[in-house]
């Protein structure tokens, strides 16, 4: 243990108060983090009248009317929005994982002229986030007739995820020992065999991290659909949630229920994929 500290006579008492202080601060922050979420869930589980008369009481008994009404009223189109979000997310994630692992392999494991320039090109993308690029990107989509089309959303999301994820995967691919590549080549592997049969299976954790990050990004994205999609039939969930609040904002209980329902998939996914998300983010930021 901490040998230096054990020389002090009152070590245990000090230690106790130190821990007490640590935990009180951390618990206070936990409460602050939870306040907006808890208020939302309380609102979602009350009727409109209850929310007016006693806004901060516990929702006992919980009222499921608003939740059920959102899930069963076709006019609120929760399910079509969920489906649009899912389609965009699956396509974007597949695209990002495939395209980025191909490019990252070449950058990590192959030598060719112009490699430096090609790689610099992608690092440039890190300085040009979508929030800034959205207007110029909109022109290009319009020229290609991809406005009001989910493919427009998918392509733009994929294009703006390339830089970061190529960096992450390149880092992982570079870490795989060169001896393995040499051995494979001596045994008659082509570069493609090495990539497909040896590197990709070894890089599964990295691919999972990239996939998890991309899923979150795509699922949460509002800006690209806001600009690209016009017809309400094609709204993904975040855009739909924003519009729902605009339309039914007077009924806070109903809106709370909608927002809570649209947050639920992310929270569940996060609890299952936390390790992948965290490892992807730290690899991207600390090494990138």
């Amino acid at each position: 243990m901490r040998t230096a500290q054990t020389y002090r006579p009152s070590w245990n008492v000090r230690r106790f108060f130190q821990r007490l202080l640590q935990y009180s601060v951390l618990v206070a922050v936990v409460i602050i983090v939870f306040v907006p979420i808890v208020i939302l869930v309380f609102g979602a589980l009350k009727t409109r009248g209850e929310l007016m008369s006693s806004p901060y009481s516990l929702p006992i008994p919980p009222r499921w009317e608003n939740i059920i009404s959102i899930l069963t009223t076709p006019r609120y189109s929760f399910w079509p929005m969920l489906r649009n979000s899912l389609m965009v997310m699956v396509a974007t994630t597949t695209g990002v994982v495939v395209i980025c692992s191909l490019a990252a392999f070449v950058f990590a494991r192959m030598e060719f002229r112009l490699k430096g320039i090609a790689f610099q090109l992608f690092t440039l993308g890190l300085m040009f986030p979508i929030n800034i690029a959205i207007l110029p990107v909109y022109f290009v989509l319009r020229q290609m007739n991809l406005i009001d089309n989910l493919w427009g959303v998918i392509i733009v999301q994929t294009a703006f995820q390339l830089s970061g994820n190529i960096m992450i995967l390149r880092g992982f691919f570079t870490a795989i020992p060169a001896e393995l590549q040499d051995a494979a080549y001596i045994d008659g592997c082509t570069a493609f065999d090495f990539f497909w049969r040896i590197l990709l299976p070894l890089a599964k954790p990295a691919l999972a991290a990239v996939a998890a990050l991309t899923m979150i990004m795509s699922w949460n994205d509002l800006l690209v659909p806001l600009v690209v999609i016009n017809s309400d039939k094609l709204w993904p969930l975040p855009l739909g949630t924003m519009q729902f609040q605009g339309q039914y904002g007077q009924d806070l209980a109903l809106v709370s229920a909608f927002v809570a329902l649209s947050a639920l998939p992310t929270i569940v996914f996060y609890l299952f994929a936390e390790r992948q998300i965290v490892s992807g983010l730290t690899a991207g930021a600390v090494k990138g």
């Binding site: 601060v25 192959m110 986030p129 294009a159 390339l162 570069a191 994205d221 992310t266 983010l281």
Partner: protein, 316 residues
């Protein structure tokens, strides 16, 4: 890496197709890079150049751009009071992020430390807001910031302690701080995670040695831990600056940049001109200003990270 897989399929490989090895490799490099390069050039690089072109026109977005105005858009932006407010707000958010949000995240990361029982629990909770979408975060904060104490929780707490309820998002002096509170709520967990990872990479023996040599906790932190965290702090600062400059969704949902432009950011300003008023030439010029600002900060960041750093071996 875990256990290496055996390499079982090698013997079953098809014999070479007769193409020279070098040619095969080049073909593969080309095909592997093709999708990434095409997408990237078409949807990231090409738009930059196209918007440089459009920024020199007075263009409403219909038909070809014919009304050439040279650099007038760029001049007009700089003389627009609202853009200056947006610029000032951008730097205010940067300042608040660097001097409030990052120290707070660092403090929490140090508090959780390396071996506190329950550290993974705290990390999971603190990181949750980062994973939620900006729409959901913005709406949650919109609800608790409601000026009516019977609807907005924060005012209810203030009334409970005998204070006066505030119109958080309706008061020109409070709106930016209120939005910053929501931003901090959403993003502190991310910076804390970066700092936790950075701390993890510092061998505890070094701090141990400091303690043995008689350094107290503060000296240990400021003269040993903090310098060793330098690269993580640089990364965190850079991400924070770039994020602050382009804040859009939270602001747009919580205040639409108002009241009377008090919470305008460059991104909301660009959106207003580009997509609400359809002054696409003018909007493009705003986009280019934002791009230049990001470029400048990126070059500064690169300048500092490229400096030879004798500690870099320790930072992983």
């Amino acid at each position: 890496m875990q256990s290496l897989p055996a390499i079982p399929n090698i013997l079953k490989l098809k014999p070479g197709t007769g193409m020279p090895r070098r040619f095969q490799d080049n073909l593969m490099i080309f095909l592997f890079l093709l999708p990434a390069i095409v997408l990237f050039l078409l949807f990231v690089v090409y738009p930059i150049f196209q918007s440089i072109y459009y920024s020199m026109f007075n263009w409403k977005g219909f038909g070809p751009a014919v009304d050439f105005v040279g650099l007038n858009n760029f001049k007009n932006i700089l003389s627009d009071r609202v853009f200056m407010i947006a610029l000032r707000n951008g730097f205010l958010i940067i300042g608040l992020s660097l001097f409030v949000q990052l120290p707070l995240s660092l403090m929490l990361a140090v508090l959780v430390g390396r071996d506190l029982p329950g550290r993974v629990f705290f990390r999971t909770i603190f990181f949750l807001p980062y994973v939620l979408s900006e729409v959901i975060a913005a709406l949650m904060w919109l609800f608790i910031l409601n000026p009516d104490p019977d609807r907005g929780f924060i005012n209810a707490v203030i009334v409970l302690f005998g204070g006066t309820p505030q119109a958080w998002l309706g008061n020109t002096n409070l709106v930016l701080i209120s939005i910053f509170a929501a931003l901090t709520w959403k993003y502190f967990g991310y910076h804390m995670l970066l700092f936790m990872t950075g701390l993890q990479n510092i061998p505890s023996e070094i701090e141990e040695a400091g303690r043995v040599d008689g350094a107290n906790a503060f000296q240990n932190f400021f003269f040993i831990t903090l310098p060793l965290l330098a690269s993580t702090i640089r990364t965190s600062v850079y991400i924070s600056v770039l994020g602050s400059l382009q804040q859009f969704i939270l602001v747009w949902i919580m205040s639409k940049g108002g009241p009377v432009n008090a919470s305008e950011t460059m991104a909301t300003y660009m959106y207003r001109f580009g997509f609400v008023r359809f002054q696409l030439g003018y909007g493009s010029a705003v986009a280019i200003y934002m791009f230049l600002l990001c470029l400048i900060f990126s070059l500064i960041y690169l300048h500092f990270t490229r400096k030879p750093d004798y500690l870099s071996g320790l930072e992983g």
